[in-house]
Structure formats: structure tokens, C-alpha cells
């Protein structure tokens, strides 16, 4: 019983969030909005299926292809700054939303990448994202976009370095989390 609970803890957490949001929707405008929420969610999922399929294939084949030596040398905890910078570059270049880059990050985690590398990858995706850049320029204008980039430019590598220093040794426990 307890192990089942543990295995599905994230399912339960997401379910709880759905119930809370459902109640909010009901209070806001009744059952119609609750139904609408479900339908919208499934619609967005349907629309993103091609991207999801590509992300899962990338994650799967990445895991099959990358050799332990490559991970250890370039992306493991021992790779140091070199690995963190490489991860920043990868994160900045990879396109797609969280349902695209988290499966890939998860594949790297399972293959042996270090914590600093993974944090740098996710942070660079969030802050450097090259694919988002044209949109940011077009909608928010040059001044905001350039200043925002300048101010947050060093954050991904710094986050990676700090994360590795502070929590790098816990990577085994972190990896256990995803090996369900």
C-alpha cells in the first residue's frame, strides 16, 4: 500500500491540483467551465502530440546512444565548468516547451549527468532560449529584450556551479527519484 502510494505520489499531487483548479472553475462559472478546462487540456495535448513524440524519441535514442565515457567526460559531476557550459549551450539551443525538454533532461539524468549540468541545462533553456528570442524582440521590443538578456546572462552557468557545489553529492538520491 505504502509503496503504491510512493510510486504514484506525483500522480496524486497532480490530481489534487486538478481538483483544486476544478473547484475554482466551478465557483467562477459552474460546471460549464469545469468541462471546458478538461476539453481545453486534452485539445492542447492533442495539438502538442507531434512535438511530444519527437521529444520522447530524442530522449530514448539519446539514452541508447550516449556512452558512459562521454557522459562522465562531458556531462558528469567530474566534467566541471566544461560540462556546465556545454549544458548551457544545449539548453539555450533546444526548442520546445517543458514537455519537450524535461524528457530530454530526464534521459540525461538517467544516463549519469551531474546535478550542476542538469540545473544549467534547464536554466539556460529558461533564460537563454534562442528559439524564443525573435518573439521576445517582436513583442516586447529591443530595449526590454536586450536588457533582460544582459541581466540574466550569467545566471544559468552560475546556478549550475552553485548547485553542483551545494547539492552535487546528492545526485544518487535525485536519480533514484526518477528510476521508478
Amino acid at each position: 500500500m505504502l509503496s503504491t502510494l510512493k510510486k504514484f505520489q506525483i500522480h496524486f499531487l497532480l490530481l489534487a491540483v486538478i481538483i483544486i483548479l476544478g473547484i475554482l472553475a466551478y465557483l467562477q462559472s459552474g460546471w460549464d467551465l469545469v468541462q471546458n478546462g478538461f476539453v481545453q487540456g486534452i485539445k492542447i495535448l492533442w495539438r502538442e502530440l507531434p512535438l511530444l513524440a519527437a521529444a520522447f524519441l530524442t530522449a530514448g535514442f539519446l539514452q541508447a546512444l550516449v556512452k558512459k565515457e562521454f557522459i562522465n567526460r562531458w556531462l558528469g559531476a567530474e566534467a566541471g565548468i566544461k560540462g556546465i557550459l556545454l549544458a548551457c549551450l544545449g539548453g539555450g539551443l533546444i526548442p520546445g516547451g517543458p514537455y519537450a525538454y524535461y524528457p530530454i533532461a530526464s534521459a540525461l539524468l538517467k544516463s549519469g549527468a551531474g546535478l550542476g549540468v542538469l540545473i544549467a541545462f534547464v536554466s539556460a533553456k529558461n533564460l537563454w532560449s534562442v528559439s524564443r528570442l525573435p518573439l521576445e524582440f517582436a513583442i516586447l521590443g529591443t530595449t526590454i529584450t536586450i536588457r533582460r538578456y544582459l541581466i540574466t546572462f550569467l545566471i544559468p552557468p552560475l546556478m549550475g556551479i552553485f548547485a553542483e557545489r551545494m547539492f552535487g553529492k546528492r545526485i544518487k538520491n535525485i536519480r533514484e527519484n526518477v528510476d521508478l
Binding site: G37, G41, I44, F61, L65, G96, P98, I144
Partner: protein, 161 residues
């Protein structure tokens, strides 16, 4: 099909070809790992997308506009950090909203705080991070990043006023 999908399919395609070159064993293993990840996460993805759907229909746009308004200074930054976490959706949804806020008089520092907070601390993104990375990673990354939008806003305020 958008460009992100096309680029990711190109990456997936090249990885597939590369593993083909390595031999059928690698192709098989890649397929197996893909299937395993998909099977493990299918239900979680459905749940996560239902959350996305609810957040979309609950439309917090109006709420955000009334909250931040022509606010500026330190209080604006704090508020912006909080609002950034709550903003749902991708850049197509969020950037136009932030542009509206800026036109309505929100300061540059607040705008930079919102963009940074939405990028790194988005609560909606956690519904994808938790299933794929586990709660330990999520807690470490999210709590480490908590101060960053505020620091980015404060830096912007100090440099550009």
C-alpha cells in the same frame, strides 16, 4: 506544425540515423527506451495537460492587470516576482500580456522580474518537471531560483532606474 516541432523531429531523426549506423542493437535499445519513457509518463502527461487546460480557461489576465497596473519600485518587483510564477502558457501567451502591462505603465524592472520569474519559477512548469525529474531535483532547482527574478529586477532598477 511549428518550428520547434520540426527542429526536434530533425534532432530525433539524426539520432535515429546515428544509432542505425551503430547497429540494430542500438536502434532496438533506443526504441525500447522511448517506449518505456512514454509508457511511464503517458498518464502523468494527460494529468499535466488537464492542469494546463484549467489554468487556460481560468484566465488570470484581468487579475494580473489589476494587480500590477502602473506599479513600480521595490513593491512592484516583489509583486512581479509573484505574478511571474502564476503566469500560464508559453511565450505566445505571456509576452503579449507583459507588453500590455508595460504599456499600462509597469516599470522596466517589474517587467524584467516578471519575464525572469515566469521563465524560471513558473508553477505550471512544475507539473512537467515533477514527473520527469522527481521531487528532489524540482525542489533544489526551484528553491535555488526563488531569489533570481527579484535580484534581476533589483539590478535593473539600480542600473536603469
Amino acid at each position: 506544425m511549428n518550428s520547434a516541432t520540426i527542429i526536434l523531429w530533425c534532432i530525433a531523426g539524426s539520432l535515429f540515423l546515428y544509432s542505425w549506423k551503430e547497429g540494430t542493437g542500438t536502434v532496438k535499445q533506443g526504441g525500447l527506451l522511448t517506449w518505456k519513457t512514454t509508457k511511464q509518463n503517458a498518464l502523468l502527461l494527460v494529468l499535466a495537460f488537464i492542469i494546463v487546460g484549467f489554468v487556460t480557461v481560468l484566465s488570470p489576465d484581468e487579475l494580473v492587470k489589476t494587480w500590477i497596473g502602473p506599479n513600480s519600485g521595490w513593491r512592484g518587483i516583489l509583486l512581479a516576482g509573484f505574478i511571474g510564477m502564476m503566469l500560464p502558457g508559453g511565450p505566445y501567451v505571456v509576452f503579449p500580456l507583459i507588453a500590455i502591462l508595460f504599456d499600462a505603465g509597469a516599470g522596466l524592472a517589474s517587467v524584467i522580474t516578471i519575464i525572469t520569474s515566469w521563465s524560471t519559477q513558473s508553477l505550471l512548469t512544475l507539473s512537467f518537471e515533477l514527473p520527469f525529474m522527481g521531487w528532489r531535483f524540482t525542489v533544489i532547482r526551484w528553491s535555488m531560483g526563488l531569489m533570481i527574478p527579484l535580484l534581476a529586477g533589483a539590478a535593473a532598477l539600480l542600473i536603469w532606474g
